[in-house]
Symmetry: C2
């Protein structure tokens, strides 16, 4: 499939690289951030908003869409693109991550994952074959195989078992893949164990997939472990294929992982924290609900070209949050997604000018990372509260 020109690298700057992914629904410049439309909608936005803020590919979730409204129903209505009114590329996640996040509701076994629905408690088994059928029904441009995703404190033995099962499932997904225009990625697991990462990389490379996901990160490990493992893995994956780091997407993580050779990212973080009023700037994250914004007539971020900052004052968005107006969530989401997508655009430009290290240095001179304890607590709270990952 690579022979068909699915992916092409344009430039390098250190380990960072820029390129182009070609799909039936258009091309995508990398490195790219993919907003998450878990249930067929990026929360609080419509497809026009997404186009306006520069999104070129969005992510849907096979597990969620299988449960509601049903992949067969979506297929009958013309597929996910038509259903959600998005004519650009779509990547679908398989539901392997829900095998991690919904741990009290699932049972992992050789044939797949048996879930209890977070919606109505009904029991469902997703096998490698069925997850490919679901994604064929959805008609996504890039599909993920079923994989075993384990928490960061999993033992070497259980992670070792996990990569063997993942290898088996990815092979079965590959054999089951029937759609000519859908690209199925491999998924590298192995937790923070380098020997297992290496083993998983070798297994995946042996399958000659058109692209490779780096899974099993952003599941509780520290930032340094995340960067170390992402870099170690990216470095050993084939240079001519796209590398997708799953579930990663704070501004600093995006910069650090692009620096390590990652091409694709998705994450609910920018949109989720936006709905709590936490908005990104070049200097770090600030909460618009803070009293300091109450009578600021300037935009929240004077350097931002998003719709929210172009059209409204910080004081107005502050008021919308205080008054719990729906528009608050839409404007905040537009701002944060535009911020990370512009960050990717700037990084592509820097890579193409071969000055990425300078860009990265400048980013860190300005950006103050949110307190990690706060960040970890937010994530724990969210993982406990629901299986909805949008």
């Amino acid at each position: 499939m690579v022979k068909n020109g699915f992916f092409r690298i344009n430039s390098h700057s250190g380990s960072a690289r820029s390129g182009i992914i070609k799909t039936d629904h258009g091309t995508v410049e990398t490195p790219v951030f993919m907003p998450v439309a878990t249930q067929g909608s990026v929360k609080a936005l419509d497809p026009h908003d997404l186009k306006e803020l520069g999104a070129r590919v969005v992510l849907g979730n096979a597990y969620h869409l299988y449960l509601r409204p049903g992949d067969e129903l979506i297929h009958g209505l013309g597929g996910l693109h038509k259903f959600m009114g998005w004519d650009g590329p779509i990547l679908t996640d398989s539901g392997g991550f829900q095998g991690f996040s919904l741990k009290h509701l699932r049972n992992l076994h050789k044939n797949g994952i048996t879930f209890r629905s977070h919606i109505d408690g009904s029991t469902h088994t997703l096998s490698p074959e069925s997850i490919m059928q679901i994604q064929a029904n959805l008609g996504s441009d890039i599909a993920m195989p079923l994989d075993v995703c384990l928490p960061s404190d999993a033992t070497h033995d259980s992670v070792s078992d996990g990569i063997l099962t993942t290898f088996d499932w990815v092979q079965r997904c590959k054999d089951a893949c029937r759609s000519r225009n859908q690209f199925l990625f491999g998924i590298v697991q192995g937790g923070i164990f380098k020997d297992l990462r290496k083993e998983s990389i070798d297994q995946m490379i042996s399958l000659d997939m058109p692209g490779y996901s780096i899974g099993g990160l952003s599941v509780g490990e520290s930032k340094s472990q995340l960067y170390e493992t992402a870099g170690f893995t990216a470095d050993r994956l084939p240079k001519n294929k796209p590398r997708y780091l799953m579930g990663v997407g704070s501004p600093e993580d995006l910069v650090e992982c692009v620096a390590r050779g990652v091409d694709m990212f998705d994450c609910v973080l920018p949109s989720r924290v936006a709905r709590n009023g936490a908005l990104y700037t070049k200097k770090g994250r600030f909460n618009i609900t803070s009293a300091r914004f109450k009578n600021i007539n300037d935009p929240f971020d004077v350097d931002c070209d998003c719709y929210a900052c172009s059209k409204f004052s910080a004081a107005y968005i502050h008021h919308l949050f205080r008054a719990k107006e729906y528009l608050a969530y839409r404007l905040a989401t537009i701002h944060n997604l535009r911020f990370v997508i512009r960050l990717m655009e700037e990084m592509r430009t820097a890579i193409e000018a071969d000055c990425f290290p300078v860009y990265r240095k400048k980013f860190w001179e300005n950006y103050r990372v949110s307190n990690e304890t706060v960040r970890v607590n937010e994530r724990e709270k969210w993982l406990k509260s629901s299986g909805i990952t949008g």
Copy 2:
């Protein structure tokens, strides 16, 4: 002010009439429906959505904006138009209605209304003079005086007292009005008592206001009482001034009250029921969450030109509601507001062609009114639940 060309009638068809209101922020064709932006935002929409769906004037609420974020703050930021990003005309309601809807939180006295804030329980007194100062700070194009709005079961004696107090307050508001470009309406009260309506009309006419509101309706009376009283009142108001029926806005009420000579309407009903999934069509109101829409690939309303119906299937909107996605509320609100605003456009066209009675007859041949018991219960529930009227 009428001499300045604030309002001009263009056509008549029976008692129905079409005209134009001129303000510093643009002209408005009547009969007109005004979406309600209680707290400075039409719930779930942005100003671009409003322009797209044909809104030409929106309504803000002085009481709500005084409490949060504060009218002085809005004044300091350049006024309500700039604050909410709406460059068209704005009408502000005074808070007299909240003297009715927040009855457990307020005390009516000769000097005004003393409220306990529904936000933090703090005590505030709105006098005729202070409500004019608030509206001057907001900078609305059309202002409402403070008035006494009583429930439909109020006695003749208390309604009689109410119109006297309202007369006094409207005079005080007129004397306090300092803004050259803000038009202050009179408000006719009198409940369903024709003698009191007549008395209130005569009082208001004696003040020679640039327009007249018909208040004290949509507060629990029956549809026939509403139509009868609105018609009785409109018929006795000066022909050359706009007539604004406050808080009325179901499709059938709009048609029936335009037929009786009303020019302006506002109501939260179309947007509030939209957020519960109840969507208008020419045949009546249907709930998009009903299973019958689960796999309908056509738009919800094939005859509708709104963004939601132009871009998405009924099945998708159904799914968004089931999945509790924010986009559901925005699309549904766009649809219902477009429906009532298109209804006004059609009525204006019919009046200008002098065939309004034919239009009205055709409307009734198609439209099935929602069960009145359901409607009354919804309203009761809402009045109990909060003082937020958006």
